[in-house]
Symmetry: C2
């Protein structure tokens, strides 16, 4: 295949300006490696609410369906916080896309290179070699989408309820994903649950254990209760390789991992389905406070584009080239404000655009 | 009232040896302040499984019913990990007691005094004044006890499900507890939910907001999504005063807070019902690896006894005396191994028994 389509969804806040930097990279790759890539841009999120009355139009979904992957900026902002849950950009755009495209596998590589460990709120002696964890989160099941859910009753007896539900096939496919990833890494999977309390967790643990015994005897599998995991991640994050989580626990623990890294502006994510179709977005949010000021760090978005090349376009060498360029820029001392270093280290503070240009020039 | 009964449930692992230190304190208080306290000891947890076939006997429950409060050590250990969820010490003893006595309010004071900040895995510059957070967790509702839950289906379609459910009255009573606590502290409550996804969280947020407006206009109320909270707690734990959580989120975040403190061996907890009856236990577990070696830190258990005097016996001045004695022992440099300091600070490493004796002598 030498003809790829990428749907570009910049969204709100810093989304457009950081996605522009990723587009520079994609163009440089197109030219240098003569790859035929067509990009089409669509509005989404709050902007789409304002212009089209809904955060995700049928037409945008159709264009995404005709693409090999989605590069997503970020959605949401205070302007739309008064809307109801399903009308809001986060739910109406992001959760709808996840479900529509069956993007069950969310991957967040938590990587902090050696020369950035000062960014972590954790003491450097705990992470002398930086951080390198792969968070794998189940993204289309569990309590996020379980039926029934709702609200009923009146007065003090008014009540609301949600259903957490996991099928064995849902657990197996995400576990396969995590184990296969671990094969290429340090062969260690930590599976997260609350099997001392929850039924879904008991099935989760049983299923993951069986799969490990049957198919991945060379992988070291460990089970941790989610409360204990929240502790161990802070105590000794280097003890983790691949973390495998149900949807809700993954939401919480992957953000905890991100903050242990200290630099959410450099963390990408991939959300994949069974056919390598994927949505790629920065781990951070739309950051409306710094939007449009040329301050946002484009690295998370650029590394998301790298993951897109790796997983959806199956062009691993291109992904590696992008990643190398990013870490080279950092080694040369270039920093956006959010990851600026102390004065005793090389430090060239630059804006969003300049960071995009420098990384592009290193491709 | 000048006649109190306390049920003592030492349990498994380090439970018995740390509870013995708390008993020394209680005896010293009895003698010095001429308070009439009767303590009765009962087996519970794994030990009760071995001796009586169940982790919590009817007789033990009856004795607890006849008491003003329960001082609980800890239960569980690898010996009983093969048992089914409800047969195990954690569920069969702890969760059953919580539900039986309607202990809906779980309080975990996360306090790290100035002279112990080196214990935290977080950089000292982030917590220059130590830590002082009150975690309030709803303990008898949510997904822990929601009906229906179960397992069904076969093959790849085998599935398991849990129900999260919250009634307005359950949210109101725990919110009242948190707001009242905040009145006596820094008048700031951070309420945790996932209202962008869960129905229970939407009701949680609405109910907490209304209560604040109606009854606590002088309290600053802030809402945080649980994933964001997991980040902010690491980034800037000093920004928190009282944290108000639903059951499951409280389980995760209170453990995260404990590890940010770095010293789970000094953190107590109280689980209360509407009549000030309570169960008091250390935040840490049964630590079977160090059990019986005179190594365990008894401070969490002793501070749990202090909370018992404060909340169930309504003897606040006694609670304060116990707490002062604990922090005095620390200031004098006494340390169990788990909280031993670097060589440039005063450091007298002692065992479980000796720590109990020293704190008792300071009463
Ligand atoms: C915006 C929200 C619905 C979403 C989630 O909870 O999945 C976000 O926190 C994330 O992790 O992508
Ligand atoms: C042992 C377990 C059931 C319990 C819980 O999840 O509540 C424990 O983690 C706690 O926090 O007291």
């Amino acid at each position: 295949k030498n003809n790829y389509r990428i749907a570009i969804l910049p969204g709100d806040g810093i989304g457009p300006e950081i996605i522009n930097q990723a587009l520079k990279i994609i163009n440089a790759i197109k030219n240098k490696f003569k790859i035929n890539i067509t990009t089409t841009e669509h509005i989404i999120g709050g902007k789409a609410i304002n212009l089209e009355g809904s955060p995700l139009s049928k037409n945008t979904i159709k264009c995404c369906e005709q693409s090999d992957a989605i590069l997503f900026g970020s959605v949401g902002g205070p302007q739309w916080d008064h809307l109801s849950r399903i009308e809001r950009p986060e739910y109406g755009a992001l959760l709808t896309l996840r479900k529509h495209f069956n993007l069950f596998a969310n991957l967040r590589p938590i990587y902090l290179p050696n020369n950035l460990i000062h960014l972590s709120p954790i003491k450097p002696k705990i992470i002398p070699n930086g951080l390198n964890i792969a968070c794998v989160r189940e993204l289309t099941g569990g309590i996020y989408f379980g039926q029934p859910h709702g609200q009923s009753g009146t007065g003090l007896k008014e009540y609301a309820f949600d259903t957490a539900i996991y099928h064995r096939f849902e657990i197996e496919r995400i576990a396969h994903f995590a184990f296969k990833l671990a094969q290429k890494r340090h062969k260690h999977v930590t599976s997260i649950d609350k099997a001392n309390v929850l039924r879904t967790s008991m099935l989760w643990r049983k299923t993951v254990s069986k799969l490990a015994t049957h198919y991945y005897p060379n992988i070291k599998l460990q089970h941790l209760y989610v409360d204990n995991a929240a502790m161990q991640l802070i105590k000794n994050p280097s003890a983790f390789d691949v973390i495998l989580c149900p949807n809700l626990f993954g939401d919480i623990l992957s953000d905890e991992c991100a903050m242990i890294c200290g630099s959410i502006g450099i963390l990408p994510s991939a959300s994949l389905n069974e056919n390598n179709f994927g949505l790629y977005e920065p781990a951070g949010g739309s950051a409306p406070d710094i939007a449009g000021k040329n301050l946002a760090n484009p690295i998370a978005q650029i590394l998301s584009a790298a993951l897109l090349f790796r997983y959806s376009l199956q062009l691993n060498h291109i992904a590696t080239i992008i990643e190398k360029s990013v870490y080279e820029a950092l080694t040369l001392g270039y920093r956006t404000l959010d990851i600026s270093t102390k004065s005793n280290q090389p430090n060239k503070i630059i804006g969003t655009n300049e960071m995009g240009d420098i990384i592009t020039s290193l491709i």
